[in-house]
């Protein structure tokens, strides 16, 4: 379960006062809860019955966290990310994202939440094949009706973050997998969202690219203060994360904070 000190920071007034200063420093600055899950259960109809992919999940994430949902395949990571991303809603319990209750949002409102505040990065890069790298990154800004000059500035800046400004006019088929995932990062980041949800972003990448990708995201996390929430079972990714939420059979098995210097268990 979650380390005590951390819990204290997140929920003021809890009984255990034992401070763990290594973490206090990290989270003191950004004490804003950006994602709150309370008793979230998700059931899918399967055949005649139901299957609980998530059971009674209670968790929250602070603004600026660089955290991951980890666990074996089928443990419910994607389901949980989809709920946080307002692409799905919980069967029971409440999920609050940016102060909005997911299950209460209309189609329009959840689309707006995604468009303005959430960035997605997937296992497969999922770039639109007929559009260039530039146009793929530009799309969310088109949805926001931003002016052409604003779009251009933002897109080029996002491509610079991931080091792909020279690839702007290439089609997705003409770039490598690592570059594709960097375009996906630029696409998620171009609108400067508060939260980026990355579902197994390195699963299709070799070690070198995986490290490069995750370092890029870490840098953006530090520079822009964007909250990153991963789903992964990749050790390489985990080694960069500050917090690992272990899922097993749809339940939180362990919520550990990782101090990279002290390597707390």
């Amino acid at each position: 379960m979650r380390p005590v000190a951390y819990t204290k920071q997140l929920v003021p007034g809890t009984k255990n006062p034992e401070p763990d200063f290594a973490y206090v420093n990290t989270f003191n600055m950004k004490q804003e809860k950006i994602i709150t899950l309370e008793h979230v259960t998700k059931r899918f109809p399967v055949g005649d019955g139901e299957f609980a992919a998530l059971r009674d999940i209670t968790l929250d994430f602070q603004k600026g966290e660089f955290a991951g949902l980890v666990g074996p395949s089928g443990s419910g990571k994607t389901t949980l990310l989809n709920i946080i991303g307002s692409l799905d809603s919980p069967t029971e319990g409440t999920a609050m994202v940016m102060g909005k209750r997911i299950s209460a949002l209309s189609h329009k409102q959840s689309a707006r939440l995604r468009n303005l505040h959430l960035g997605f990065i997937f296992q497969v890069f999922n770039l639109l094949p007929v559009y260039t790298v530039y146009e793929n990154v530009e799309f969310s800004l088109l949805l926001q009706n931003r002016s052409a000059s604003e779009r251009k500035k933002a897109v080029m800046e996002a491509l610079e973050w991931v080091g792909l400004e020279k690839m702007a006019n290439k089609k997705p088929a003409k770039i490598s997998g690592g570059e594709g995932q960097r375009v996906a990062i630029a696409r998620a980041m171009v609108k400067r969202p508060e939260i980026v949800l990355a579902d197994e972003p390195t699963a299709n990448l070799d070690a070198k690219n995986a490290h490069a990708i995750i370092q890029t995201m870490k840098k953006l996390n530090e520079e822009l203060g964007t909250t990153f929430l991963f789903s992964t079972h990749d050790e390489k990714v985990m080694s960069y994360l500050d917090r690992l939420v272990h899922l097993n059979d749809g339940k939180v098995a362990q919520d550990e904070l990782v101090n990279h210097k002290t390597k707390t268990p």
Binding site: N115, F139, S140
Partner: protein, 424 residues
Amino acid sequence: MIRFLLKGILRDKNRSMLPVIIITIGVTLTILLSGYLKGVMGDLTDQNARFETGHVKVMTRAYYENKDQLPNDLALLDAAALTDTLRKAFPDMQWVNRIRFGGLIDVPDGDDGSKGQGPAVGMALELLSASSGEIQRMNIPGALVKGHLPARSGEALIGHDFATKLNVKIGDEITYMGATMNGSLTFYRFSVSGTLRFGSAGLDRGAIIIDISDARTMLDMEDATGEILGFFESNVYNDDLALAHAARFNSRYVQVRNEYAPVMIALRDQNNLAGYLDYVDMFSLLFVGIFVFAMSIVLWNTGLLGGLRRYQEFGIRLALGEEKGHIYRTLVYEAILIGAIGSVIGTCTGLLGIWYLQVHGIDISGMMKNSTMMMPSVLRARFTPDLLYIGFIPGLFAMVFGNMLSGIGIYKRQTAALFKELEV
């Protein structure tokens, strides 16, 4: 956003090619068929007008009711005065007198015997008066096989095959035997000045054409005429105007309780042409309807397939914060763009085909040998302005409708289900 969609359509050939081809074919067919029907109908109307009905025709009421029997006993009297009245009342039309008659043609062998005999259907025209325009109207120079046009009274033209059957040569004498207007027997001698073939079996069978002055003498019809035909100066039949003229003329005689009172009948109300005209309109409409229906179904299915192929794209767009409704609307916009492209191409190719048919035509005289119908032997299409939209609008409609149907399927799917497609 429109630019974004347009780029997608132009770059993704799979998305646009098939629908464009389907629409192009459908629109082309619609235009070809409509233009062709218009052409056939136009030719049919035209030929009927020239040879039989005029654009309007004045007869006595009794003659009109029995016109198939060529009842010259019911002919119009005071023909000159009535014709004059018509010319003054309807100066936009050209007015001519015609007498149609039946009888027997006998070819004497010069020995009080007979070389041959046959039933004849005759038409007496204002042949010797150049101003009547009847020679051109009936296209007699074009139909002339041998000999020359009648130059004076007592000369006749007869059908070429009829002449062959009766063994008549140019310059031979023939005798008409028949009944006068008053029912007494009449014989009249003509010299054959030429033979004709109109190319329409109905016209060529047993035909004889003489000048109307001969007919008046022969049939005892002094200052009488079976029919007075009116033709618009433009030579193009105008249904509304013809009906209006007829109504105006006939209103003068509504009070007259006399079966010899004249009556004016527009082309559409003669020879069942109204039926034809309406039939063609209905057929066009039916075809367009079937076309829209079939196209919609085909395009619905291509839309569904295209949609399935694009679930990944829709999933991404949803994740990027596009609304489902917006995605659906963009599908409709895309359909409008693709539908418009296909319809423009289809309209162009269709009109090209119409142009070919209008200029060159298709000769079907081989198929028409035994027909008694008054049908032109070369089928031509005709360009009319409505061809510009008769294919275009249904093409566009079918595409948009088909895609709206297929789009509903996508729209109804749960966001998460669409999104599931993203997972591998």
